[in-house]
């Protein structure tokens, strides 16, 4: 039973993380494309509880940033005015989950913009870009994995069920895809498709490209499951009652593939998200101004950014809790599958 509990905990973590991303509008104080040309490359706002006179305040506050000329540290805090951090504020309008018009934000402030993760060259709030960018990257991962799982199921089931020459050809084809370094393939394929496209098109391109390249491993696994399930006595028995191929597949063989497919999905989603990040990072993926985790990191390729604006690195860490949760779910699923196999 603890295996189930383990799986449940990881799933809860995963759902919570995705929930935050899904409700990006609520958790971010501003939109992802709103520019603030007065504050390019602002460092993360420091939250204080102690003011300049040594008084403690329960509500955290921060100071507005003023540009300083001529110093390497561009901004200084304007300590003349405390700007308290307010929670559950009314801010700019957005659509919750892309559908419900809303204007409530988790936190915000009057008079000045708070940059919890700093701002980029156009003064856009990095926190907002991370949250909204997560929507793009995670969605790309999910859709791509959906395509891959579907292809893997169809091809693997066909190979396993029909056997013979169909199996041979399909598996040789799969080996080809498995043998190649995936990133090179991804790049190669991306290379030959139009480069300068709209964000939506680019997004779809990435999804389709990564989805169609990764089918080989799921297909092989599904094939293995189908091959062994086909030979099981209970399948034979069902055939002995006069069951059709379609019935056998639907009722007996397909359920056996579910655990393999779920585990594969849990393993592949982070990989696909990473693929999107890599492509976008190099300018081959989702273009500006749409934020994705990948293109948020793109300007880290500039030496000056690395040198002076360290907070631009922070978005990379956003993916780590996601990776962790997905791996947790995948290994819990794996353990559960092994465990139930022994029991039966």
């Amino acid at each position: 039973m603890s295996k189930r509990r383990k799986l449940a905990t990881w799933l809860v973590a995963l759902v919570a993380l995705h929930g935050i991303i899904a409700c990006a509008g609520f958790f971010a104080p501003y939109g992802p494309v709103a520019q603030d040309r007065d504050h390019p490359y602002a460092p993360p706002s420091k939250l204080h509880f102690l003011d300049t006179q040594g008084r403690v305040h329960i509500r955290p506050f921060f100071y507005a940033l003023r540009m300083r000329e001529g110093l390497s540290d561009r901004y200084g805090e304007d300590t003349s005015r405390r700007i308290p951090l307010k929670f559950f504020v009314d801010g700019i309008r957005y659509k919750l989950l892309g559908w419900v018009p809303c204007s409530l934000h988790l936190f915000g402030a009057d008079d000045a913009r708070i940059y919890l993760l700093g701002s980029d060259g156009y003064g856009r709030d990095q926190l907002a870009r991370v949250l909204y960018g997560g929507q793009v990257s995670l969605l790309a991962g999910w859709l791509g994995v959906g395509i891959t799982i579907f292809l893997g199921l169809v091809i693997g089931a066909a190979a396993g069920y029909y056997g013979g020459w169909r199996d041979e050809i399909l598996m040789r084809f799969a080996e080809l895809f498995l043998a190649l370094p995936w990133l090179y393939l991804l790049f190669g394929l991306r290379a030959f498709l139009p480069l300068a496209v709209s964000p939506l098109k680019a997004f779809l391109l990435i999804v389709v490209v990564s989805g169609t390249l990764g089918w080989a491993r799921p297909a092989k696994l599904v094939r293995g499951v189908v091959l062994s399930a086909k030979e099981r006595d209970f399948v034979r028995a069902a055939r002995g009652f006069g069951a059709s191929d379609e019935y056998l597949f639907r009722r007996h063989i397909l359920p056996e593939t579910s655990s393999v497919l779920l585990t594969q999905a849990a393993i592949l989603v982070p990989q696909y998200v990473l693929a999107e990040m890599t492509l976008s990072f190099l300018g081959l993926g989702v273009p500006e101004p749409v934020a994705s985790w990948g293109n948020l990191l793109a300007n880290l390729q500039q030496y000056s950014v690395l040198m002076s604006y360290w907070w631009m690195y922070l978005p990379v860490l956003a993916i780590v809790p996601f990776f962790l949760s997905y791996f947790g779910v995948a290994s819990a699923l794996q353990e559960w599958a092994d465990f139930s196999k022994i029991g039966a």
């Binding site: 034979r236 028995a237 002995g240 009652f241 039966a344």
Partner: protein, 269 residues
Amino acid sequence: MQPLIQVEHLVKCYSGRNVPGDGEVGPALNDVSFSVAPGRTLALVGESGSGKSTLALCLAGLERPTSGRINFGGHDIVALDEKQLRAVRPQIQLVFQDPVSSLNPRFTALEILTEPLIVQRRGGRNERRERALTLLECVGLSREMADRGTGELSGGQRQRLAIARALSLAPKVLILDEALSALDCSVQAQIANLLMELQSSFALTYLFITHDLVMAAHLSDEIAVMDRGRVVEQGVPEKVLRAPEHEATRRLMAAVPGSNVTPRLPRAL
């Protein structure tokens, strides 16, 4: 009496892969002929590799013989196509050796029992449920077990369930492919008794496949010994055990512990 099943010159060659049992080169069934009278039990005894599993599969319509005839109910099963075969299938059912692998672990007992009825499209949901519960009682299980998964059942209970499933379509013939071999000794006796009861209750014909010569002698009216795809000796149990003619029979006798035990009295006809 007209035999219920008549097998004539059955030959089965495998092409290399997917060979059940010990998979040797050469035909699995090499000109097998025998017949079974209705209501009787014929035991097919042989070592592994002798072709008995292949024979079971051919008789149940799960493998196509390379040549030969299987006469049942006026038809030659071998010559039927899949559609015609579907009408015949309910009448010959198979009980497998391993009750763990022959029952889908994801199904409940009820689902297992109603599956044949669903596949053959007999009756509505309630009728199927009733029939399943009745079957449970027939094999000595309680009606409450219907919604349990197979993981909660013991080996003996599982095999009872498998037998109940085989009976769901009211077959005329039950092929028991080593159906007792995977069970503990004490359970074997119980299930064997159950089978005997069922045979008289439902006027079933049994084809009892085993490697245990003594068990065969105890349960059957006639024994046919198989060796390397052929029937090498046939006769009533007493004769086969007391005066084995073929070397294969002698080997089987030697394999059974305490094989100098004389068989019981013949069962009443």
